[in-house]
Subunit: 423 residues, 2 copies
Amino acid sequence: MNRYLVISADCHAGLPNVQYRDWLDPDHREAFDEYLRQREAMLELAGRGLLNEEFAEQWEAENEEGLRGGWDAARRDKELDADGVAGEVIFPDADAVTAGASAPFGAGLGATGETDPALLLAGARAHNRWLAELCAQSPERRAGVAIVPILHDVDAAVAEIRRARESGLRGGILIPSMWQPYPPYHDHRYDPVWSVCEELDLPVHVHSGAADRAQYGEHVGMYVAEVRWWSMRPLWFLIWSGAFDRFPGLKFVITECGAFWAADLLWSMDIAYDREHAAKKLGSQLTANMSMRPSEYFDRNCWIGASNTRRRELARRYEIGVGNLMWGNDFPHPEGTWPHTRQWLRDAFHDIPVDETQRMLGLNAAGVYGFDVDKLAPLSGAIGPTPEELGQTGDALGKWRELAAAGRPWRTGIEAMPLPVGQ
Amino acid sequence: MNRYLVISADCHAGLPNVQYRDWLDPDHREAFDEYLRQREAMLELAGRGLLNEEFAEQWEAENEEGLRGGWDAARRDKELDADGVAGEVIFPDADAVTAGASAPFGAGLGATGETDPALLLAGARAHNRWLAELCAQSPERRAGVAIVPILHDVDAAVAEIRRARESGLRGGILIPSMWQPYPPYHDHRYDPVWSVCEELDLPVHVHSGAADRAQYGEHVGMYVAEVRWWSMRPLWFLIWSGAFDRFPGLKFVITECGAFWAADLLWSMDIAYDREHAAKKLGSQLTANMSMRPSEYFDRNCWIGASNTRRRELARRYEIGVGNLMWGNDFPHPEGTWPHTRQWLRDAFHDIPVDETQRMLGLNAAGVYGFDVDKLAPLSGAIGPTPEELGQTGDALGKWRELAAAGRPWRTGIEAMPLPVGQ
């Protein structure tokens, strides 16, 4: 290979808020106008010190044209091309600074069980209809993720999943990461959702955004400290309740929560499953619903949309699983790597072996989302970065040999190996 | 030095349940009898597969005499001596298998804001009174931690803190790790508690036990996966709300939650504080209550009672802070290292430099809890393990030199160093 096939497993698209009006069922347009008026209160955030206004102005000024790629297909392709990104998985809410391009009624990344379920479904459907049209332009490079509020009405959720898939959305579904006040995700009431997603090969996603906001007051640092946890949490509810035994083909993806936590989580869950020391006192219920170790389900059924993958995360890739990690540029959010993806990739991947880079930058996502690699080849062959451009010129594998051999040390029993850590 | 001064920063003591009756205020004895009757329902746990009955029987049979050290001072000293432990920090709830020696009314490790506050305080006071008597025997080796329910009545909490300290409990206080349904720990209503603890040099503790149990059903694996998180959570509520700026002498300790998570937490909080990339969009509120980085508060004000410290935790000690880690044997709980502490220490510390071992095994705790090292010297000189007994015979530092130099790599900018990982 000469150039990497790069697929971003974490992109965002959304219309400027007011434009969603036309995509809503007429019944909900009046409520939407009221919702837009109330949303103006959001702008007050800046005055309370929660938003860096100077940064926001500069970001929007510097990227005015590029940010239109949040909803304009032609502009979007141009931005992705410049970043070297051939394929993308598309989540809602294009504007992560002032929330100016968010799915109606808060149906997007921050959706919770507290929102009016009828409005939530209406907002989701409006976004999904628009997103299908966006994806119909350059369909080979876009896997659109449908928003599906599954908490309140499971049957309606299943119907929306089927409708969304038929409309062309093949990227799977986004579910609320927080189920409160509805039953937790170990409850079998959600089985029809897992079942239809298994049947249609649609990955189920949680994506960072929701959190236990009522507890923080205005302390945004507390949100930063725990927001990832609230979205990764469903992982262990599905694993320990046996969801991946009941639905062995189910795909579950945790997006934009980082990846650094996964190694420790798998370690602690595996040694509990194996009843290592501290877990000896636990009874048979612990593993009653499972036929495999947590890490084995993780390898078969779970992936991390690791977005702007950091050095200290890549250093743990043999514990997390090279096949479980999917990079993403988070376009067009400022916390991602766009519009400087080529530099970010060089900084992070310069000493990572080429075959592993191939998987994490594109092939893993191609498999999870069913991208047609042959169809994308002309594009990736034209825009993708080369190993040389990422600085991968030496014998990268030598540095990592011991670590690769150790894999998950709690399983292999091998320790003491070089492990670079960093940002 | 010849023998290590070993202080266990995580031990437990408690009377057999029924014996607490005599330590309760007479007003609460009737309620206590009713509580004991209801508690019998706990035994049903075993039948539901939550407890490994075979393990429980074997544990209790093999350690029948030693387990009496949970409440009997002479037996306790004998067990600690055999383990090589000269000093101990004492938390409630001696029986971690069938909860047969727990502070009354659930006032101990699992206390939450859901419990009747009057009973909670009564149970805490009964335990504290008894614990002060236990500590009065061999006082130089015991730092007893008072149970203090601070959620409902802050003034009563402050009064109990002063009373407990005067009674001889110098190990600090144990607060509920979960505040719900009361205001979170960023709220200034708790300031009188932090203030009196700063004044009296009493460390404030959270200890694992409580969790969001209503969400798990009977899925004990979910409890295992997240119980640590619910007790470490107050850490970032105190840090980001500036509690350690308002009370610069306040000591905060997170006990028996492991230590593996601390490096990533400090990394992610520090880079947010420094507004690295993803945090650029956050406004001035983020750091409005703080004059230092999160890791700087951590180094000045916070410690981890890391209990049975694992290899993968020790490997991260330069990121976590060698001075922040306090080992513990968790006596007399089966998930700890007792009665095989000498072997556990050898397995974990065999390649750790002696001066760092000294700190993590004893000197850090001596400083936090005010143990008189000179007074303990005859005892530790007689029972403490030697470096040779821990297998520390080679030039341990060589192996760790690069890692030690890197420290916290997100602060030093140094990466690429050897780092052993393991269980």
